[in-house]
Symmetry: D3
């Protein structure tokens, strides 16, 4: 019954989301030995002005991270 949540920056295409949930499910089942029907996933967008590291919003950071 793994329930997975992924928080990430906005802007992913539907193709990327489709691939992401398919691959995360496959990976999880391979490692944990569960059937795909047991895995649910929720994707959630977080804007760079709502995410901070080291006290600085990503929207303020000079160099955006590699993602």
């Amino acid at each position: 019954m793994p329930h997975i949540t992924v928080q990430m920056f906005p802007g992913r295409s539907i193709e990327q989301k489709r691939a992401l949930v398919a691959e995360l499910t496959r990976t999880t089942c391979a490692v944990l030995g569960c059937g795909p029907g047991a895995v649910s996933i929720i994707l959630s967008d977080v804007a760079p002005h709502d995410w901070a590291e080291a006290g600085v919003l990503y929207s303020d950071a000079k160099a955006q991270p590699s993602e």
Copy 2:
């Protein structure tokens, strides 16, 4: 101090949300024996293209679930 979060598909009317928080609060207090003032609830919309089961986005699923 029960704190409840409900994630669901978008599109509920304000009347449904109003009824949902009223009823969930009443149910929780009846079962746990707490006062309504102790219960807080956050509702959160999750789009079908951000929710997957068995590795498939709900927006891709042939037959949408009964909800």
Copy 3:
């Protein structure tokens, strides 16, 4: 596909938890018009020394709340 999370103080009996998930599911389906199979619930204990309101841990509060 409502996914519900309930955070509450520890100490509920298994009978209370059983009743809580049954009743919350029934309430949710009645209001939203979904089938019970669409509802998943996760219960989560939060100790009074890990929960604060108005800047004070519940374990430090003079009068415990009604729950």
Copy 4:
């Protein structure tokens, strides 16, 4: 590695968000004795019609709370 999530009503300016993550990070590091690089924060808007206390949506409450 403190990871902090703040759920609040919409409408904060970017200046408030910038100040909030800077100050929360500074506060956390001062109390826990960690470096700022260890702290990540996610801000999340919750609309008054998606947040309830005592079974009533904030958007329905006569007097809005002081925040």
Copy 5:
């Protein structure tokens, strides 16, 4: 900056957890095109008596799911 949370039944070995975070990170980076340093993961155990589907605790379900 994907931040991933995995909720699952207790009882995974440290080897399984190690493999899970390594593989989920690799999968996420391959699909989203980000560096591994951008991915953080939190694993969280949920006991069968704290998890319900269709209004029934997993600890009460006759046949445990395949996971």
Copy 6:
């Protein structure tokens, strides 16, 4: 109505938790202009073998982070 969640490594003393919730509440109110009664906080321990960065569990990392 800010609701704050802090996930951190286990081992904080009750004094640290008491100071943390008091200071985070004060900081949040100062920046957002809300009353302390509007702020609730939940602290949550995450073990180093349940937390990963860059695909590696903190319990496996050679050098523990500065926190």
